[in-house]
């Protein structure tokens, strides 16, 4: 067999490639890991108990994160080989003794590995780890099993990484499809819930439509510039044109092509007016999957968008920045105003994710600025937003997953009433995350918004900044409603001083007595007994792993709110890769 293989000559005509496998490690770990997981679980059925695949997936995520610091040092610009010794990344780079090779283009120009790629990879892998940890609890509760959830999660993540590092529009499309198709299936994977099927179907149909737009956009851009390579496209737009490619003679074709690409990406990141799938899909899909959709999928979509527009079409930014600004305003308005009337928490969070996409679009608009300084600030604001929002939204959906109850259906705002009494820890965490998303100070949510506003004001986009802040104030209402339900609405009874969720007539009487007696011991005793009765009543155990994820996200959110400058150099270097 081997000797047979050895006889085959390399095919003529295709130049022999040496591929830098070490720089492909994150993608390889994720995708090969997925294939291996299928193999292992089919050969050894005893491993299909939800726990092995979860731990395996989390380890895959961790493994691809572990190689990132070394890669970071490797692709550091030659100027600071090994990185700045002041920074953690630089320290690791020095320790590894490598570095200074600058951004690497691999596989014949298909992928580019630079600091930006590594940053995006890091966020996607973080999302994989966190989601893999909340999945087993969910699957156990729902009576579902099977490694396919984890396999799809890993595959989707590998698509996201490819999307973030693609240097060719065809590869971008490839990454987008790998990312999306796995998520379409994940959305529909709760087989016993018809909403889940519906969500998967809707997501798939609309996603396919947007892919068609995207492909058409690639074709037009190719027609206009004569290349699908992003770096070549950038070259062909330069004046004077020294790339040796087709000089840009058809600006309108490029414009239409760019618009089509924007539609395709707009769908992925749920920007208005391409957002209509979001509420339905978020509501119907399994909650842990939504956590992944709102974080990794959105981040990967924006990453691809940055590569295509800021790097590739950067010279033509005058053409598309107007469209982005309009989209940003529309997204902000739609996301914040339509959220106000929702009563389903998952739908509310869907609109909130649209509003956040609007903020990211504002940063994206600045990132496309001609002024290099502004563009840098915009990109780094966007990168910080990726991180902060991913952490917040995964935490939020972790809490939503826990609270969904068997059948993943208890998501009405009424179901959250009196939660502070029943599950104080989860309610407290969810409240912090909700306030963080609203942009309350001393959370990472505030500083992510603040960085966007700084970037916008710095590039003179005051109107966009003002619109963003005003809509942020409107969407604060959405988060407050959630907090009101959890903390202040004691279960329907609106009497003075009545915080107690009264479940039966006996306790109701006791509660009334508590109100009458003047804050004395009797009242407290009654109150305490009511509470314990309820605590016992709500007996569903909370999976430890999910709780740990929730707490970890809260800690990260608050930490980056108190130390907003943390990791500033990483942001700067990652943003510099695009500049």
């Amino acid at each position: 067999m081997l000797s047979l293989l050895a006889q085959i000559d390399p095919p003529v005509g295709i130049p022999e490639q040496s591929i830098e496998w070490s720089l492909l490690l994150p993608v390889l770990i994720l995708s090969v890991g997925a294939v291996l997981l299928v193999t292992i679980t089919s050969l050894a059925p005893s491993t299909r108990d939800n726990h092995f695949p979860a731990i395996y997936t989390a380890l895959c995520g961790v493994a691809s994160m572990v190689v990132l610091p070394a890669m970071w040092a490797r692709v550091a610009p030659a100027a600071n080989a090994g990185g700045d010794p002041q920074t953690p990344a630089g320290l690791i780079g020095r320790a590894l003794g490598a570095g200074g090779d600058g951004p690497q283009t691999i596989i014949n120009g298909a992928l580019v590995i630079d600091h930006f790629t590594i940053f995006i990879t890091g966020i996607i892998c973080l999302a994989v780890v966190l989601v893999a940890l909340i999945l087993p609890g969910y699957l156990d509760r729902e009576g579902l099993a099977g490694p396919e959830w984890y396999v799809l999660l890993l595959l989707s993540a590998s698509g996201g990484v490819i999307l973030g590092s693609a240097d060719d529009l065809i590869v971008t499309f490839l990454g987008l499809e790998i990312l999306s198709i796995a998520v379409y299936v994940l959305a529909a994977l709760h087989l016993r819930r018809s909403e889940s099927q519906e969500a998967g179907f809707k997501y798939f149909i609309l996603g396919a439509l947007s892919s068609a737009f995207f492909l058409y956009g690639i074709a037009l851009v190719y027609g206009a510039t004569g290349s699908t390579r992003i770096s070549d496209i950038a070259g062909s737009l330069q004046i004077p044109n020294e790339s040796g490619l087709v000089p840009l003679n058809d600006a309108s074709m490029l414009l239409v092509g760019a618009a089509m690409l924007l539609v395709g990406f707009g769908f992925k990141v749920s920007a208005a007016p391409f957002h209509v799938w979001t509420p339905d899909v978020y509501q119907g899909s399994p909650s842990p999957v939504v956590a992944f959709m709102a974080s990794a999928v959105k981040v990967a979509g924006f990453a691809g968008m940055l590569r295509v527009f800021v790097v590739g079409l950067g010279e033509a930014s005058g053409d598309w920045r107007g469209m982005v600004a309009a989209m940003a305003v529309l997204t902000l308005v739609v996301g914040s105003f339509l959220a106000v009337v929702q009563t389903n928490v998952k739908r509310m969070m869907a609109y909130s994710s649209i509003a956040h996409a609007g903020f990211m679009l504002v940063a994206f608009y600045v990132a496309g600025s001609d002024d290099a300084d502004s563009a840098m600030t915009g990109t780094s604001a966007l990168l910080f937003y990726f991180f902060a929002y991913s952490v917040m939204v995964i935490g939020t959906f972790t809490a939503i997953t826990i609270l969904g109850g068997r059948g993943d259906g208890r998501h009405s705002l009424d179901d959250y009433k009196g939660l502070a009494q029943r599950r104080p820890v989860i309610a407290g965490c969810l409240a912090i995350l909700a306030f963080a998303q609203a942009g309350i100070p001393f959370t990472s949510g505030f500083f992510s918004k603040f960085r966007v506003i700084i970037a916008a004001a710095g590039s003179g986009a005051y109107v966009l900044a003002a619109v963003a802040m005003l809509t942020a104030a409107v969407s604060a209402f959405l988060y407050l409603r959630l907090v009101v339900a959890m903390f202040l609405d004691g279960g329907g009874d609106h009497d003075d001083h009545d915080e107690i969720d009264l479940t039966d007539a006996d306790e109701a009487a006791g509660g009334e007595a508590a109100l009458e007696s003047d804050g004395s011991g009797v009242a407290l005793a009654v109150e305490a007994s009511t509470l314990t009765a309820q605590g016992a009543d709500d007996g569903e155990p909370v999976p430890t792993a999910a709780l740990a994820v929730l707490v970890a996200t809260v800690v990260l959110t608050v930490l980056f709110g108190i130390l907003p400058g943390l990791g500033g150099d990483i942001l700067r270097e990652a943003a510099a890769a695009l500049g």
Binding site: F435, F450, I453, V484
Partner: protein, 570 residues
């Protein structure tokens, strides 16, 4: 990203003890300690909260003593770099303008904790109160624009929970309204803050949010200054609240628990007026000067409107809430006449209003606890069974009216004096507010405390010893500030002088705002003290007996007598 770094000059004039960070850290630490106390240990919870807030109060009073009265600049400066990347610094300091507001916050919290108890969920209640104290302390000391904004916003959260969780009636509605109004108002302020930092970037030599450097730079064009000033002014107008934006206040004040109302009136409304002074007038003197007539007009409308609406209220607490609108109108008028008397009066009035309205809310809260109603028509003749209670109420009420010899008078008088020089017709209308205040408060007093006592009103319990202990510091302050405001005015004067000089230097063709320009010589400090002394003498002559009574209020026992003689007057 090439944001130039802002190298903080750490501890330039720093005192040996970092007193200001301690004022923030102690309540924060107390809040964390509260989390460790089991929730059924009610007495311990209260004790911890009281201890923490009292230590903070003591520290703030110690700071008052250590404050150098002759220095108009910043004192107790603490400056640490926070995020060089974003140009943030942890810049805390006090001067004569913020000093008394810090002390006021320090004093009001332990009193509010001592005076009232929540009826349920003690642990989160004290936890939120302590967080609120942390934020309130920080907001008056922050001199980094963004740090100020952070504190300005963060105080919303605990207050929102306090109103929503421990309030009355439509508490959730009131809490939401309060939160959203303020949040929407301050949304544009963040854009303004960032804009001013960017537009001054070249002049200040790098992106910075340091208020002092931004104010010294004065790098904005007139149009930009006006726009940014308006974005600030909107946020503060909601907070004050100024006339058309005041509708959240009666709801929030009425539905809030007593402690919440006390802090809301005493501390949080001052964020608006303090903000106008420190971040509006100081940063944008030109725009503030040009637009002063708008704010004076809105202030005067607030005075008359608040008083008129207060007169019509059936709910005693709502009446007090509307009286706040009127009082805050006075303060805004005083700020925007942009002369020393007006601003000094406004600052003094901020403190006075905090003391007397805070005390009024406490008293109303006690009436509600005893009678389970705040309807004025359901009350009556309370003084028959609770004479001491009535006496204390009288004193506070008279101070709120602005009776000479009590604290309310000094501030109002200075404001009117300042306004009369700069904006005579505004002053003329504003004076009517003083009369209206007498009308609505005296009328309310008459209906609640006089007349025949029927039913439960006849069995109204008397002021308890612990309650008397809680309210006594406020009564003392009411009298002290009325009789002898000089130490307070002395401390704020250099800072106010500096501010006014800064305004005059930076306004193109400075004239005091208003159509009626007095050709008079600029008022000096001597003038001021002189006029004030005259006023005091008159006041003393008028209310001689009353003051005698008040003076003997040092011991608990003599308090009763003092207040009795009060009541005869009222």
């Amino acid at each position: 990203m090439t944001l130039p770094l802002f190298a903080a000059e750490a501890g330039v004039e720093s005192a040996s003890v970092p007193i200001l960070p301690a004022l923030i850290a102690v309540p924060l630490f107390t809040a964390l300690v509260l989390l460790l106390v089991p929730k059924h240990r009610v007495a311990e919870l209260k004790l911890v909260a009281l201890l923490g807030s009292s230590i903070t109060a003591a520290l703030s009073i110690w700071m008052l003593g250590a404050f150098d009265a002759d220095d108009g600049g910043l004192q107790f400066v603490t400056q640490r770099e926070w995020s060089a990347d974003l140009g943030l610094s942890w810049f805390l300091a006090v001067d004569g303008i913020s000093l008394f507001l810090v002390v006021l916050s320090g004093i009001l919290f332990p009193i509010a904790i001592l005076a009232t108890e929540p009826h349920h969920d003690h642990k989160p209640y004290y936890f939120w109160l302590m967080l609120l104290m942390t934020g309130s302390m920080g907001v008056f000391m922050a001199l980094d624009l963004l740090l100020f904004f952070l504190f300005f916003e963060i105080v919303l959260v605990p207050m929102y929970f306090l109103i929503g969780g421990w309030g009355h009636g439509r508490r959730i509605y009131a809490a939401l309204k309060f939160f959203l109004y303020t949040m929407a108002g301050s949304a544009l302020m963040l854009v303004g803050i960032v804009s001013v930092a960017f537009l001054s970037k070249d002049a200040t030599g790098g992106l910075t949010f340091d208020v002092i450097r931004l104010a010294e730079a004065q790098a904005l064009s007139d149009t930009a200054q006006t726009l940014v000033f308006l974005s600030f002014a909107l946020a503060f107008a909601v907070k004050v609240p100024l006339f058309p934006l005041h509708t959240w206040l009666p709801d929030a004040h009425t539905e809030a628990p007593t402690a919440g109302s006390v802090i809301l009136a005493g501390v949080m409304l001052k964020l608006g007026t303090y903000g106008y002074l420190r971040f509006g007038i100081y940063l944008f003197p030109n725009a503030a000067h040009d637009l002063a007539w708008i704010f004076m007009t809105l202030g005067v409308i607030g005075i008359v409107y608040g008083a008129a609406v207060a007169t019509m209220q059936r709910d005693l607490k709502r009446l007090v809430a509307y009286s706040s609108v009127a009082h805050l109108g006075f303060i805004v008028l005083g700020l925007f006449v942009l002369n020393t008397q007006g601003i000094q009066g406004a600052i003094l009035q901020m403190v006075s209003h905090g003391v007397s309205t805070g005390a009024l809310f406490i008293m109303v809260g006690w009436i509600y606890e005893r009678r389970h109603t705040r309807e004025i028509s359901a009350l009556g003749g309370l003084q028959k069974s609770a004479p001491v209670f009535a006496a204390a109420f009288t004193l506070i009420m008279l101070s709120s009216i602005g009776l000479p010899g009590l604290n309310g008078f000094v501030g109002e008088f200075l404001i009117l004096l300042g306004a009369f020089q700069g904006a005579r017709w505004w002053a003329v209308v504003a004076v009517s507010g003083v009369i209206l205040a007498a009308l609505y408060l005296l009328w309310a007093y008459q209906r609640v405390f006089h007349g025949p006592a029927e039913g439960e009103n006849a069995e109204m319990p008397e002021l308890r010893f612990s309650e008397g202990l809680a309210i006594l510091p406020l009564l003392f302050l009411i009298v002290f500030m009325g009789v002898y405001p000089k130490p307070i005015l002395d401390r704020m004067e250099p800072a106010v002088e500096r501010l006014v000089t800064h305004v005059e230097a930076n306004v193109n063709g400075f004239t005091e705002p208003g159509p009626e320009q007095f050709p008079s010589e600029p008022a000096t400090a001597e003038d001021l003290t002189h006029t004030l002394e005259e006023a005091e003498e008159r006041a003393e002559a008028e209310d001689h007996s009353e003051e005698n009574g008040d003076h003997s209020e040092d011991g608990d026992h003599s308090e009763e007598e003092g207040d009795h003689s009060e009541e005869g007057e009222g």
